[in-house]
């Protein structure tokens, strides 16, 4: 029973309530410690020297003058980070991205680093490092990178025996799309582009690294996965994993961008060389130029359908721009593209393409929003062709329990149909629109994942509970896990304090990514609490001197069963804990679990916009998110995730993009020129939580963090299209692009 992950369908007392966030006071009073807040005696300032070229061969690096500068304690280059990974492969690409080897592969690629007694000295030292470059031809556009004579980014990657920028090609689907087109009464097709965006987390990457002469080390860092950082850094530096302790700070936003190491191995190398702690904090410009944004894409979509709306053929090919290192973005996109629909003939092709841009990282439901833009925009085109309501068209083809998903398996209980029904019946859909206004809707899908997790639940002698987890709290998991522990133990939420352990204090925990935090650590917390309840019953039995089989845990108390013991008053957790020193010592529960069986997640969004036909400026007037949460443990946070994903999607749809010049250099590496939405750009984002339980979690939990960013590009694209009467095919839909589309349409 203790580790049974089956859905219990229980009534909740604490779960589903909205207590105050546990980290709120520290965050609003400035007490919370973020990545840049760590400090150590004798620490140095580490700074990185970055390539000013989009693509260049590194002929020589002369660090001698920098090393001689007073106050400089270490200078490192690739020579100080030798390849211990065995050559090209995931870890080698991470190493090469952290420090360029024989070539700089993008504007901003690190080529050397210094550690000095202060920032001014470190900056002077950077200027004294002489790098001899030979500029090479570059390519920053995904379509150009696929052309036969394009400059090659990674020569060892080959297609048909020749160097190629095409790193991988993934196909998913079933049936015969060509035969499906033959059956169709109507065929629609369109091509689309989306530009590269950054997650835009407010806190830049920051760490403090300290390596001792005895070979042990510590790293304090802002990250979504300190265990992963430990493993990667130790591997790259040749350290034993257990000799590197990593502590995660509070995180000022991650959204996938803090699942990768960028500066941390270099900070450790500087510390090792200087024998001093080294702090590195990226500037905002560095974050844009040299941490992982998402892919830009170009894609082609084709759908065939019967007059009644039945889709007979669905095809998409999407080219993902991976930056300078191969990723799996085409694979993830290909699997998500058509997941909302029940399709007889379907094919999705995802292609990973290398360019001279920074290494791409995950961004909230990575790869899904782009293909959703293509698919959901084309669904609207089809609805117009068929003169059919777009929600009705989607409902006509919707995936249900038992549907064979476009990426292969057959669905269990899923929530796309309920989200569409909720959209259909939502007052937002019936609200009147004025001139120059348009409404759009779109659907989205994300898998969610589980993974390795481990927790400790310790009961203090006063009966208060300390829950220690290893999943970084990115989006409110301390609150949700506290609620889960309280629910399982039958106590008040306020009796539980949740802590994030460092890597030396718990077994391995996978990174907080894939919307896994509350799903997986929630499961481990339930199991740990069940262990603790067993122990509490044991202790109560000792206190009463009756068999443990006669004790049950009920509503937060040990209760003696049976007529023989009905004179025994129930014992509270406080009463049992107070006696723990004489009944066997500390009372705790512990669990490690591989939390598989994460339930997939669906959402449908509605958006109203107004477009100024003179300027092309778009204002989002109203926005509604409907999403299946499985079970909303703390509804405020769930709504916050829905709103956050929508807000980021609005920025992506309307404003945000990396702009590269013909010289291959990034032209807008700052928040002034790369404009994320602020409060005044956004309406209140309305939310509706649906709860279709995940059968593989005791509380029915599904991940909620990512799906909300999948539909916005298409929902807004459809809304803008309906406002201006011209199909928008290029994201972001900036005023110049909207005016251009209107001009081309003769508007």
């Amino acid at each position: 029973m203790n580790n049974d992950q089956s859905f219990t369908d229980q009534e909740f007392k604490v779960v589903g309530t909205r207590p105050k966030r546990p980290d709120g006071v520290d965050k609003v009073t400035g007490r919370a410690k973020y990545g840049a807040d760590a400090s150590a005696p004798g620490q140095l300032v580490g700074l990185m020297l970055r390539s000013p070229h989009a693509h260049a061969s590194i002929k020589k690096i002369d660090t001698s003058k920098a090393e001689k500068l007073q106050g400089v304690k270490a200078v490192v280059t690739a020579a100080d980070l030798p390849d211990l990974t065995g050559g090209p492969g995931d870890n080698f690409y991470i190493l090469e991205n952290c420090m360029a080897r024989d070539r700089a592969l993008y504007d901003g690629h690190a080529v050397a680093a210094v550690a000095a007694i202060d920032k001014a000295t470190a900056k002077k030292a950077l200027k004294l490092i002489k790098v001899s470059y030979k500029k090479l031809p570059h390519v920053t556009d995904v379509d150009k990178a696929m052309k036969p004579n394009a400059p090659i980014v990674q020569p060892h990657i080959q297609q048909d025996g020749k160097p190629s920028n095409i790193a991988a090609n993934y196909e998913f689907g079933h049936g015969d799309v060509e035969a499906g087109l033959e059956e169709a009464d109507v065929v629609v097709e369109k091509s689309y582009k989306t530009e590269q965006t950054h997650q835009g987390y407010i806190e830049p990457h920051a760490c403090l690294a300290s390596v001792s002469p005895d070979g042990t080390g510590e790293l304090w860092v802002t990250t979504q996965g300190h265990f992963h950082f430990r493993n990667v850094c130790a591997t790259l530096l040749g350290m034993d994993i257990s000799k590197l302790k990593v502590t995660s700070s509070e995180i000022g936003g991650g959204f996938g961008g803090k699942t990768h190491v960028w500066i941390e191995p270099v900070a450790l190398a500087l510390s090792r060389k200087s024998n001093r702690p080294v702090k590195m904090v990226m500037s905002r410009e560095e974050v844009f130029r040299a941490s992982g944004p998402t892919c830009s894409t170009s894609m082609d979509v084709k759908i065939g359908a019967k007059k009644d709306g039945t889709i007979t053929s669905a095809f998409i090919e999407c080219r993902y721009m991976d930056g300078a290192f191969p990723g799996i973005w085409g694979m993830l996109g290909g699997m998500t593209a058509w997941a909302c629909y029940d399709l007889k003939n379907v094919k999705a092709v995802g292609i990973d393409v290398l360019c001279n841009r920074p290494k791409v990282a995950a961004y909230r439901a990575p790869s899904a929003p782009m293909m959703a833009f293509g698919v959901e925009s084309t669904m609207d085109i089809l609805a117009k062709e068929l003169k059919m309501d777009p929600v009705k068209l989607r409902l006509h083809n919707v995936a249900r329990e038992g549907t064979r998903a476009s990426y292969g398996p057959t669905y269990g209980p899923i929530g796309i149909e309920p989200t569409l029904e909720a959209v259909k019946n939502h007052p937002h859909m019936g609200a009147r629109l004025k001139k120059n206004q348009g409404r759009g809707m779109a659907c989205g899908f994300w898998f969610n994942i589980g993974g390795q997790t481990c927790t400790d639940l310790n009961i203090g002698v006063d009966g208060s509970v300390s829950l220690t987890v290893g999943t970084v709290d990115v989006g409110g998991s301390r609150a949700s896990l506290g609620l889960i522990a309280a629910e399982e133990l039958g106590i008040e939420y306020e009796q539980v304090k949740v802590h994030i352990a460092d890597t030396a204090s718990l077994g391995h925990n996978d990174t907080t990514e894939g919307s896994r935090g509350t799903f997986s650590s929630g499961m481990a917390t339930i199991f740990a609490a069940r262990n603790a309840k067993d122990e509490l019953c044991q202790r109560a039995a000792k206190m009463w001197d009756i068999p443990v089989s006669a004790v049950v845990w009920k509503e937060g108390k040990a209760v003696a069963k049976g007529k023989r013991h009905n004179n025994l008053a129930p014992l509270t957790i406080q009463e049992i804990a107070a006696k723990s020193p004489t009944t066997g010592g500390p009372i705790a529960g512990h669990n490690e679990v591989t939390a598989d069986g994460a339930g997939v997640s669906f959402a449908s969004h509605i958006c109203d916009v107004e477009v100024d036909p003179e300027t092309g400026a778009t204002k989002v007037l109203r926005y509604t998110v409907v999403q299946d949460a499985g079970k909303a443990i703390h509804p405020d946070y769930v709504e916050g995730q829905f709103q956050g994903g929508a807000a980021q999607g609005i920025g992506w749809a309307l404003n945000e993009e990396y702009i590269y010049g013909d010289d291959g250099l990034l032209q807008n590496a700052g928040f002034l020129d790369y404009r994320i939405p602020v409060c005044s750009d956004l309406p209140f984002i309305d939310t509706k939580i649906l709860e279709i339980p995940n059968p593989n979690h005791p509380y029915g939990i599904r991940g909620v963090g990512e799906t909300s960013i999948v539909p916005p590009l298409a929902a807004i694209g459809n809304a803008v299209t309906n406002a201006v009467g011209v199909r928008m095919t290029h994201v972001p839909m900036t005023p110049p692009r909207i005016l251009k589309a209107l001009d081309e349409a003769g508007g």
């Binding site: 196909e171 990575p366 292969g408 057959t410 994942i449 894939g514 598989d596 059968p695």
Partner: protein, 81 residues
Amino acid sequence: MLKVGFTGSLMSSVNGQAQVDVEAGTIRELLSRLVQRYPDLAEHVDQGIAVALDGEIYRDDWSKPIPDGSAVFLLPRIQGG
């Protein structure tokens, strides 16, 4: 006997078959027998693989029993942001 489904590059690794029959009681047994029969699949298993059992995706727990009659599908390993 389980009927195991494949798509895309995984399908190429099992001689282009969309479905393969395998006798296996757990995910570990399933993967081991498949790799034995189709060595090209080993690279995918090393890179990371997931197994869908009746629509639920399992990435990590190879000891997971596979009930008789389960709909089994092999997928690339997923990650998120």
